[in-house]
């Protein structure tokens, strides 16, 4: 019975002389191609901005709910324990840093250098994430002074990515974890300069580390000013899984990123004067 049904189903097409690539379908494809060509030339930004504006409230509320739900789903007990441990470590670090800061301020005053420049920041909110790649849509755009190439951070000077597309009221941010996204980084406690490479799926690796350098697990990875894309000193993550293979010219490692999707609701875009290497 099933087989008969199948045969009839297939034969029906043959009897009608059915074709998949008909002239009509090919014409529609060609017309669509030219339509999209025109849209991309003149209307792309306006159209995207219009669609984002229409869906913004729904997307923003879904993002907030997802973020809260995801946070609640995590094992709270384990998370608390981890936070207490981290807090203790941070307190001891803070005591050290306060002493260093005082010393630094005294030296800067003595040398008449002034204080370190702070960033010019703009606050934005995440609306959605691209399904197929590591990029986010945020709710500030060229109307707020956003330009292509501006770095995006979250609280604690944690680097998230950079702006790649700007529309009047929205922007698209490519995350540092986007596949083949390269960033010049430094590991201050070992004086190592290397490359951070996005591997997609919210993962990062550390590449081009000279073999003779001593890399430590847990060392902080910060942006370096060498590449010219990002200001120096933004936090990227911590070193883990160091791999030193005998016949490889460089050693590699993974980077444990310090941001989590459920902690990203508000972001800051850094207004930088020049983008050297966009």
């Amino acid at each position: 019975m099933f087989f008969v049904n199948f045969v009839f189903f297939r034969r029906m097409g043959y009897n009608q002389g059915m074709k998949i690539f008909t002239k009509k379908r090919i014409t529609i494809l060609v017309l669509l191609f030219f339509c999209f060509l025109i849209i991309n030339s003149f209307l792309k930004d306006g159209l995207k901005n219009f669609v984002y504006a229409k869906s913004e409230s729904l997307m923003a509320s879904l993002w907030n709910r997802g973020s809260e739900q995801s946070f609640l789903n995590k094992n709270q007990e384990e998370l608390n324990k981890k936070l207490i441990e981290e807090n203790q470590k941070l307190l001891s670090d803070l005591a050290d840093f306060q002493r260093i800061k005082e010393e630094n301020d005294f030296l800067r005053n003595s040398l008449d250098l002034g204080t370190e420049n702070n960033f010019d920041l703009m606050l934005g909110r995440v609306i959605s994430k691209d399904i197929l790649s590591d990029s986010l849509l945020i709710n500030i755009g060229s109307n707020s002074g956003i330009k292509k190439g501006f770095p995006v951070i979250i609280s604690g000077k944690v680097l998230l990515g950079k702006v790649v597309d700007v529309y009047p009221s929205y922007s698209r941010v490519v995350l540092i974890t986007q596949k083949n996204n390269l960033i010049d980084v430094e590991i201050p406690d070992s004086q190592i300069f290397a490359l951070s490479k996005g591997s997609g799926g919210l993962n990062l690796t550390l590449d081009m580390i000279a073999r003779d350098k001593e890399l430590k697990e847990g060392s902080l990875v910060l942006t370096s000013a060498l590449g010219g894309n990002y200001p120096a000193g933004l936090l990227i993550g911590k070193v883990k899984n160091i791999k030193k293979i005998d016949n490889e010219a460089y050693q590699t490692a993974d980077i444990e990123k310090v941001f989590d999707l459920d902690t990203i609701n508000n972001i800051f875009v850094i207004k930088i004067a020049e983008i050297y290497n966009d």
Binding site: F2, F3, R10, R25, K44, S70, K129, I131, L132, S135
Partner: protein, 105 residues
């Protein structure tokens, strides 16, 4: 004809909301895209002369283009072509009787 238009309209609206749900709520829990699976299933199950598979593939591609850094139309046309090719291969070469007892969409 009206039934066909209503069916298409319903599909497009449902896919739009599903896409928004997928790109704003689901990234916290999974990277898997249910819409890709949906488009694939519709294309596999419907009759070769059906249009819903083509429309769903095109609309999903269009949404991907709009909510990403791609040029508008890149994924829409790619998905549409992929859907046509899938239909062509299924119609011309695949002779699996088991497909026929699945519900037609």
């Amino acid at each position: 004809m009206i039934k066909e238009i209503l069916k298409t309209l319903f599909l497009v609206i449902a896919m739009y909301y599903l896409f928004i749900f997928e790109s704003s709520y689901l990234p916290f829990f999974t990277f898997f895209s249910f819409l890709v699976l949906f488009v694939l299933v519709v294309n596999l199950l419907e009759e070769p002369q059906g249009r819903l598979g083509l429309i769903s593939a095109f609309f999903f591609g269009l949404m991907l283009d709009i909510y990403s850094t791609h040029f508008i139309g890149l994924m829409a046309l790619s998905f549409l072509l992929a859907s046509l090719l899938l239909k062509f291969i299924l119609f011309k070469y695949v002779k699996i009787p088991s497909l026929s007892w699945m519900p037609k969409i």
